[in-house]
């Protein structure tokens, strides 16, 4: 009856356009939802700036006493904070549900997204924004504006580095949350991973031993959201940027694959009403 003419050749461009339109509209809707909570947003922005300022003060004092720590000077530390903050913020602005995914799976909330003709993974992730993430997104640019030697090229490079960073953040968090399909409740794993990734990313790469670095370029990819982008940014080496996009694509692909595999086991919250 129906179901003819699916995804033939020539549909690909149409599909991409349809998804681009969807992401744009989801973004606009999320932006409007954010504006509904202006006061809340300003408060959170203030809190975030305060927190970051506290750590900046710590680094200023420490590096003032000792010189570079783990190979990083004060501006290096500020730059990894900038990169991590903007990537993390961008990930949560566009894919605001990324750290709710496990709860959504557990409570049967995927239903709404499965009933709509868009890929459930993108649909669920992009259907929300995190108000405070706008502040994190802005923070990196604020640091950049305050920093000596910022020019248009640096600004462009910074932005180009934040995009794969955001994708890697989103993919990693989504993967941890997708474990809910298999474990029933993965909140412990995913909150641990979130903390690992944020904490490790915000300190100089040089303080970690070799064993740790293997982890930081694989399962907790702080290396790809902070340390490697910092090197690229420092050396203005555009040549390495495509490599970061490839890495991001790999993380996204793996995360997507994990979600699809899990979806086959989805129980739509019925587990709750199934009585034992």
């Amino acid at each position: 009856m129906l179901g003819t003419g699916r995804n033939g050749p020539g549909r690909l461009g149409g599909r991409t356009r349809a998804y681009a339109r969807f992401l744009r509209d989801a973004f606009v809707v999320n932006l409007k939802a954010t504006l509904e909570y202006r006061v809340n947003f300003i408060m959170q922005f203030f809190g975030m700036m305060l927190n970051n300022a506290a750590f900046a003060a710590f680094w200023l004092v420490l590096i003032g006493r000792t010189g570079a720590v783990g190979g990083y000077g004060f501006s290096d530390v500020m730059l990894i904070w900038a990169l991590v903050s903007t990537s993390f913020g961008l990930a949560h602005v566009v894919f605001g549900n990324v750290r709710q995914l496990g709860r959504i799976i557990m409570e049967g909330g995927l239903d709404v997204y499965l009933l709509q003709p868009k890929d459930a993974w993108i649909n669920v992730l992009a259907s929300r924004t995190v108000v405070s993430a706008w502040g994190d997104l802005a923070y990196g640019f604020i640091v950049l504006a305050l920093m000596n030697g910022t020019n248009l090229e640096r600004l462009a490079l910074f932005t180009a580095l934040a995009v794969p960073g955001a994708l890697i953040f989103a993919a990693t968090f989504a993967a941890a949350e997708s474990l809910t399909f298999f474990m029933g409740n993965s909140s412990a794993v995913s909150s641990a991973l979130t903390e690992f990734m944020l904490s490790f990313s915000l300190y100089p790469e040089g303080i970690y031993g070799h064993g740790m670095r293997w982890i930081l370029y694989s399962i907790v990819p702080s290396g790809f959201v902070a340390f490697m982008p910092l090197r690229v940014f420092r050396s203005l080496d555009w040549g390495l940027v495509p490599l970061l996009y490839l890495v991001a694509a790999a993380y996204v692909g793996l995360s997507y694959w994990l979600f699809r595999a899990g979806l086959r086991r989805y129980e739509s919250g019925n587990r709750m009403d199934a009585r034992v």
């Binding site: 129906l2 339109r21 909570y37």
Partner: protein
């Protein structure tokens, strides 16, 4: 070709057995114990294009599980489903273009934004041209009377207004079939009536196939033409609304009130409730002629009031729900509503 076909559809959930005691909790971390819960055990039915079907059953009967399998949210463990010619589990995304859904508890509207924004986003989710969308929106705004809420954030709407918007949103992509899970839950009488009217109208105007679950008999009587009842994971009744109502017609409640005390001895019929001047009777019309009973009662004294009522549909369905197994419920299909009828007789008489 039928719009919806379910053949021997079944679903078994693995449920972790909750451990008791501290050591057991530790053990279950290492090696959890599972138990199979058979939520749906081989359900079959066919629904034609444009039919309005009520899908009934007590809590935990497997209604939601079945509906979710038909929509591709859950994978069946056994059997097969075909909806609009597609296999929901395999072609979920394709199917979702033609199927709308209203789940009373789960919203597809953005809570903090007015419906207009949600509709715009839904337009891009369903890949509807902006022009087409505006045209369709205008129609739905008029039909559903949404103009006053169109630019009000959903969180500020009443539940009735919200459900009306939900229903309109699910009709935005002009679905061929509409699934509703408890659409009127929690609504007041007026809002319920409005939703029912809108549903019936949607079915008439767009010729939409409607498949809905509800615990509200009003929804079912006013909107649906056919009822499928599942219980203990099996279909126990599948018949037209008319046939289901006919079951209740075999039992009537007759209430009488006289100006002065009377003697009310009727052969083979004793009152379920009795005062010196009034009484109520439960009449099994297969054993007594209603006309004779009424005549007899009228002849006993100076009649002030007489009421004759059908057995409520609710009692018929309650009797089916109260059974303990699928087989028992099916057996009941032959002489429906005995137990519940007697239980409710007193209530009806006092009314």
């Amino acid at each position: 070709m039928p719009a919806i076909i379910a053949r021997d559809l079944s679903k078994t959930f693995k449920t972790k057995v909750r451990p008791s005691g501290r050591l057991a909790a530790l053990r279950s971390l290492v090696k959890p114990e599972y138990r199979d819960v058979r939520a749906v055990k081989g359900v079959s039915f066919e629904i034609d294009d444009g039919e309005l079907v009520a899908f009934l059953g007590p809590n935990g009967a497997g209604k939601s599980t079945t509906i979710k399998m038909l929509m591709g949210i859950l994978r069946p463990t056994g059997g097969s489903a075909t909806v609009l010619g597609l296999d929901p589990a395999e072609d979920r995304v394709e199917l979702s273009r033609y199927v709308g859904a209203v789940f009373g508890q789960k919203s597809q509207l953005w809570f903090h934004l007015p419906p207009s924004d949600s509709f715009r986003l839904l337009g891009s989710i369903y890949e509807i041209d902006d022009d087409d969308r505006r045209w369709r929106e205008a129609e739905l705004i008029e039909r559903f009377g949404l103009a006053p809420y169109w630019d009000v954030p959903v969180r500020k709407l009443s539940l009735g207004e919200r459900i009306r918007c939900e229903l309109a949103a699910s009709l935005l992509p002009s679905p061929v079939a509409l699934f509703l899970d408890e659409p009127t839950i929690g609504l007041d009488v007026v809002a319920k009536r409005e939703i029912r009217q809108l549903l019936a109208e949607a079915a008439r105007v767009d010729d939409t196939t409607i498949f809905m679950t509800s615990h509200d008999m009003g929804d079912i009587e006013k909107v649906c033409k056919r009822a499928i009842i599942i219980h203990h994971g099996e279909v126990v009744v599948d018949e037209s609304m008319k046939a289901l109502k006919r079951r209740s017609l075999s039992r009537k409640y007759v209430g009488v009130r006289y100006a002065s005390p009377v003697d009310l001895e009727l052969p083979g019929l004793s009152p379920v409730k009795r005062t010196p001047t009034a009484a109520s009777f439960e009449v099994d019309t297969s054993r007594h002629s209603l006309a004779e009973v009424v005549r007899a009662l009228a002849s006993r004294g100076d009649l002030e009031d007489i009421t004759v009522e059908d057995e409520p549909l609710e009692n018929v369905i309650a009797a089916i729900y109260e059974t303990r197994s699928g087989a028992e419920a099916q057996a009941l299909g032959l002489n429906a509503s005995k137990g519940a009828g007697a239980a409710r007789a007193g209530e009806a008489a006092s009314a």
